[in-house]
Symmetry: C2
């Protein structure tokens, strides 16, 4: 079996360090979309970008910033891992639509409209009522379309997600989630969403976060790859990739922050529970960034051709990024929407 041309991870929130960067290189990961915000406001998010700027300065032989697909191709040639910034919440734009372009100028390429809760833009997947895209949400989606900041609905509720797919002039992404047909978690997605996503040219990244897996930490590689195969039967093999949701080397206080931010005085356990409040252990076949090739082999074993496997392991994300990250004006008359539709 040939190595896939590109290995791209569609989402990760690790506790970045030289150790993790070296694991990325060891695993041959060419690019990773990294979360730089859960609940931070604009100024706090800028501080997180500053931290990455320091890492880029300190470890230029391991990582580089990526603002475009061509930056990722360059990283591959240079033997470095390309880092794409993304936000899991709209908190960094505060109530100011002008910050959409500012954040794009600072290298941000994905923004979730919600993180579990109702936001100024849409409804999160943990709310009892889903009222869809808000007035500001429509304005912000239009602005994101203009500058080339991709809408990510991984943590959003169903109606909001369907409306975002419909309203966005450009394909959106669900960077890290799995189909509900396989594991019916609050964060996983219905067939309706998956079909609408693919029909509009959007991308799904399969999550390896144990709470999104059938049998959680005990999920088998065969079960995971069988789920990928069933998804490909549903929506094709061109608009799916990996979005590992790896949260390496973090203390459990970080998952508390992810779930609770500053929005509650109670304790929300998210997909965990009081008895198992911390980060769940990874399945033994996908411990960290060194194990992507295990998935590649599993996909071929599950019946994918090597070409399909290479698409899922990175090629599909790269093709999506090539359109999604450019300002609308740079795409000229080319219709971005549905350009990836099978």
């Amino acid at each position: 079996m040939d190595r896939p041309a590109y290995i791209i991870d569609g989402l990760q929130y690790s506790n970045w360090s030289e150790r993790v960067f070296r694991q990325l290189r060891e695993g041959g990961v060419d690019a990773v979309h990294v979360t730089i915000c859960y609940h931070e406001n604009f100024r706090e998010t800028v501080a997180n970008i500053e931290a990455f700027n320091r890492w880029f300065e300190r470890f230029p032989e391991l990582i580089r910033p990526a603002r475009s697909a061509s930056d990722i191709r360059a990283a591959k040639r240079e033997g470095r891992t390309a880092i794409v910034f993304g936000l899991q919440n709209c908190s960094p734009i505060e109530d100011d639509i002008g910050l959409v372009e500012i954040l794009h100028q600072l290298g941000v390429r994905f923004m979730q409209l919600t993180y579990n809760n109702q936001s100024l833009l849409a409804t999160g997947c943990y709310e009892a009522e889903d009222t869809g895209i808000t007035r500001m949400g429509r304005q912000v989606i239009r602005e994101m379309n203009r500058v080339g900041l991709t809408v990510d609905m991984s943590h959003s509720a169903e109606r909001s997600t369907l409306e975002a797919i419909e309203f966005s002039e450009r394909p959106i992404a669900i960077t890290h989630a799995n189909p509900s047909f396989w594991h019916d978690g609050l964060r996983n997605k219905s067939d309706t969403v998956l079909k609408a996503l693919a029909e509009s040219g959007g991308m799904l990244g399969f999550s390896l976060y144990p709470h999104h897996l059938k049998n959680k930490s005990d999920c088998t590689l065969a079960s995971f790859c069988e789920m990928v195969a069933r998804t490909a039967e549903l929506i094709g093999a061109e608009q799916i990739g990996i979005g590992s949701d790896l949260c390496l080397d973090h203390p459990d206080t970080v998952v508390e922050w992810m779930r609770n931010g500053r929005w509650t005085k109670d304790v929300d356990y998210g997909e965990g529970s009081a008895a198992a409040a911390g980060f769940p252990p990874q399945p033994d076949w996908f411990r960290d960034n060194r194990d992507f090739m295990t998935i590649a082999r599993g996909l071929v074993k599950a019946g994918f051709s090597e070409t399909e496997m290479a698409g899922i392991m990175g090629g599909n994300w790269l093709a999506f990024y090539a359109h999604a990250f450019e300002p609308a004006a740079a795409l000229h008359a080319e219709p971005a929407r549905k350009s990836h539709a099978g």
Copy 2:
């Protein structure tokens, strides 16, 4: 007389509008360094960048952002005016050195270490005691050198200015001031400063703000051009340009803000007085952006060759920008310092 290849204004703080942008085009101004901060903190400065992003979006036929000399050459070809962002104070970096790179990423290319008062970095020209570059100031100059953010000492005191010239690995600028030998204002510069600036490869932009002119609003074109000629005798004709300090269309409340910010409860009149607190009227031969060619003709009449005149009107700034705005790493082994020295 031929038109100069480029007309570049080394500093301006106008009340931007379609009217002013159209005057820039009418005057054939190819690039202008625009002030986007006097006393604003980081978040407020970002809001000012957002305002420019809106203008770029609304008036793409008149203006475009410029982050490099090649952007300015492109603007010239396109028949647009290139806009370069600069800060007249270090307030936007707050106490956070990481914001130097963030602001460079947002397109900022000049930063004054002080605006009249003592700052965290250096001493302003209105302080009684000048203690030179501070501990943080040295760190920030080094970081500015690294990313390609030019040190501007227009509003700084003499010792601080000389130390910045000495400590900076890359040439600095005094974007808008005149020689003290012609008009001994607090803001104007000694022969010592002018010589040290030029010897290090730095640039001086001649101001047309009436408080910096001999006889203020009644200054004559001949006197101004004679002053430029005497400066060229002192430091050569390659490291001088125009930095008009035009403040068009602002109400007088804006000059109050420039002078007083939030730092005083008294009223500081700066170069004005209680009897003449507002913006002074421009000399009749330089009303606004339509009058740069009047200066060009005056320079030739004062004895400059057309080549020298073209350098002063824009070519010298363009050559300086070509080095100053690039990250240090992009300049490879080429010695940036003194590369422009005559």
